[in-house]
Symmetry: C2
Subunit: 168 residues, 2 copies
């Protein structure tokens, strides 16, 4: 079964986990959720609890077709975990589809994969994204090669649709 | 624009609102959320706040292609509001696609639209659904004519997909 990995941490944006979690399943993907440790429950910004399926050491990047970096305050936590940063780096190095929404690009900055890439993000981190070498575009969704970025939960429909189109 | 109406109330199941809310948008539908009053914020079972777009008096059933009844504790509240029950009755009478998940069928019971219909629901209310005249089936999703029912948030992918297929 084709698989998708969703990256979360403490105070993830609830909707940004929930929508891709079910949407990729609808198209026949197995979806797994990773955090800094396996079988750990993180609480979303709005209160939704979610238990991770796997920890970083369980992840073989080649086993997944795509990676989703959820926003909220979680990326601020995830970027401090070198094992999660390495997953993102490896996903880029092997040409996997990577989606990041809202504050999700903070993890892309930490993995140093934004140089010369077109991308968007939540308004608070636009300067950081530019300083990391990205060409910022103020759009609901930006697709550059295998990288898909969006700004806000309201962009979820076009964000996930764009990822699915890359995977076709 | 084709529209879908989602029915919620206090303590709605967060995921059961969030998934259809974005999924129907992905397929080009305008999605509106109705509760007992317009511009009112209800808090989900897991803490997600959501403001309604419209109240029952703003709703013309003919303006919508489909109706989604969200589960959680909300249906126990919604069934006590005759204006919301009437929306469901009218949706049935005019042959609209109606989906109900989890405790959502409580609102179908109150509208007395289950007689002779195949349906499923959350395990707690199986007896009520049978007593209301439905032919209960223990499946993730049951489609009978224009009625789509499911049991649990884990069924969301097939629940919404089944509704979309009816609308094609």
């Amino acid at each position: 079964m084709k698989k998708v990995l969703i990256l979360i941490g403490k105070s993830f944006e609830d909707r940004e986990l929930i929508y891709p979690y079910y949407r990729f399943q609808e198209d026949g993907y197995g979806v797994e959720v990773v955090g800094s440790s396996a079988k750990t429950t993180y609480i979303g910004l709005h209160g939704m609890p979610w238990e991770t399926d796997v920890g970083p050491n369980d992840v073989k990047v080649d086993d997944y077709e795509a990676f989703v970096i959820v926003g909220g305050h979680a990326p601020d936590k995830m970027r401090q975990d070198p094992a999660l940063v390495k997953i993102v780096k490896d996903a880029f190095d092997t040409g996997k589809v990577v989606g990041a929404i809202c504050h999700g690009p903070q993890l892309l900055i930490e993995a140093d994969v934004l140089r010369g890439r077109k991308a968007t993000c939540y308004k608070a981190i636009v300067t950081d994204v530019k300083n990391a070498g990205a060409v910022f575009e103020d759009k609901q969704v930006v697709v550059d090669g295998n990288l898909v970025t969006s700004q806000h939960p309201r962009d979820l429909p076009v964000f996930v649709k764009s990822m699915l189109e890359l995977l076709e």
